[in-house]
């Protein structure tokens, strides 16, 4: 983070628009699809602009390998992983320290909403593969995981969605992409369940004043509501076409 963007790129133009033409509060074009994999119990693909994440849920199930099961609830097992071809330079498929940390924060963004107590001694696997990384891979992962869990029929208190707020050239912006993340002053990923008013992921990389932080959090929660509404729509549409229900 920090440094100067490439020649000819204006992070914030004179018209107040971002390098890709978005206004500060605008999300990238978001695309969601549910039930995209045959084998998985639940699956989804989520795109935030060029960022593309595939999610699959297996379980609740008895794990194949020996594994310390929890006596009073299902264990959530989350793997966030980037495909080798997802980045500019090939990413080694071995899990990096970043991926290990993100697997943890993504798992902890799902723990508050999954009703795991229903399935003691089982494991619920959430596999996330970043197919293309262009900023916001963890936030798109949380959104994809939320949809895949719903698609798998895992009881959950509510849906979660996620977005990152950035600060570029002093301006708070919604849903930062890779370029803005690279040259911006701050990047704050947030996940939340709007139906419950609960924040389930909160990280900040960069510098914000106390006031900027409150504004950024508010912006994040507003965008997350939009994203979760899209999740609801795509679930309704998917099941309407399959089940013939009315929306």
């Amino acid at each position: 983070m920090g440094g100067k963007p490439p020649e000819g790129v204006r992070l914030i133009g004179e018209d107040g628009r971002r390098h890709d033409g978005r206004l500060p509060h605008e999300l990238r074009p978001i695309h969601m699809e549910v039930g995209v994999l045959n084998n998985a119990d639940g699956s989804a693909i989520v795109q935030y602009g060029r960022t593309r994440v595939l999610a699959a849920v297996y379980g609740p199930r008895e794990p194949h390998q020996k594994f310390p099961l929890l006596p009073d609830r299902a264990a959530l097992r989350v793997r966030y992983h980037m495909a080798p071809f997802s980045t500019e330079d090939r990413k080694s498929p071995a899990p990096s320290r970043r991926e290990i940390e993100l697997s943890k924060v993504v798992r902890e963004s799902l723990e508050p909403i999954v009703i795991a107590e229903e399935f003691p001694r089982t494991v619920i696997d959430v596999f996330l593969e970043v197919l293309q990384a262009d900023g916001g891979t963890r936030t798109a992962s949380v959104t994809a995981a939320s949809l895949a869990l719903a698609d798998a029929g895992i009881p959950m208190k509510a849906l979660v969605g996620s977005v990152a707020i950035g600060k570029v050239e002093g301006v708070l912006v919604v849903d930062v992409d890779e370029l803005e993340d690279m040259y911006g002053e701050a990047d704050m990923p947030v996940a939340a369940a709007p139906d419950l008013g609960e924040i389930t992921l909160l990280q900040l990389n960069g510098v914000l004043s106390r006031e900027e932080f409150s504004t950024a959090l508010e912006m994040a929660l507003e965008s997350i509501k939009t994203i979760v509404d899209m999740e609801k729509d795509v679930l309704r549409k998917t099941y309407t076409s399959v089940e013939g229900g009315e929306q």
């Binding site: 119990d41 609740p60 003691p120 719903a150 309407t240 399959v242």
Partner: protein, 234 residues
Amino acid sequence: MESEERQLAGRIVVPGEPVDDAGGEEPYVASVGGVRRATVVGMIRESEEGGRTFVKLKGVYIPEPGHVVIGLITSVGIMNWFVDINSPYTAVLSVQDFLGRPFNPAVDDMSALLKVGDYIKAKVVAFDKTRSPTLTVQGEGLGRIVRGKVIEISPAKVPRVLGRKRSMLQVLEEKTGCSIFVARNGRIHLECPNEDLEAIAVMAIKIIEEEAHTSGLTRRIIKFIEEERKVREV
């Protein structure tokens, strides 16, 4: 028929959405933050008893005592078999239960009784999520499945294949000549007069699974079976 089926259609609700006054069973409907909400994707429709009810469209099979299930033998223990019942939990069937008498390792050969890969029809005796579900094959119609075909559908779709008051199942059996047993865990056992009729019955069940809740489904299934029989000349 038409009006009865139309009632099956309803409004789709998603996890976290309030279900208001609609009935529904835990944990698929749960009180979260003081509001009764759906926890899985489902549908709110008129219930058979009147009023509105939440019906889940997704979900795994959780065994309950008394359920008849179709299980697949996956491994053999010292005194019991481990049985895949299409659930997060593997079930256990004891040799003693299978024999209906005490097991004598000197005389009885377990692998001659049931092999890995065998299907059984069994009743759930006990289950409380802290221990594996136990099964019994003592009872009419229970035991090893020796002929026919077993297929699998989503356990959440079992009520749709049965139909209201088992009306859909009746149609399937009458129109295909098959004898069909639908187990609670989403496995279905078919015994048919011939392979063509079996294939037709399987296809019809898959259509029901995919198009459950659409109106006019029973009529379409009848039409499908009749046309297929004409094409295949059976």
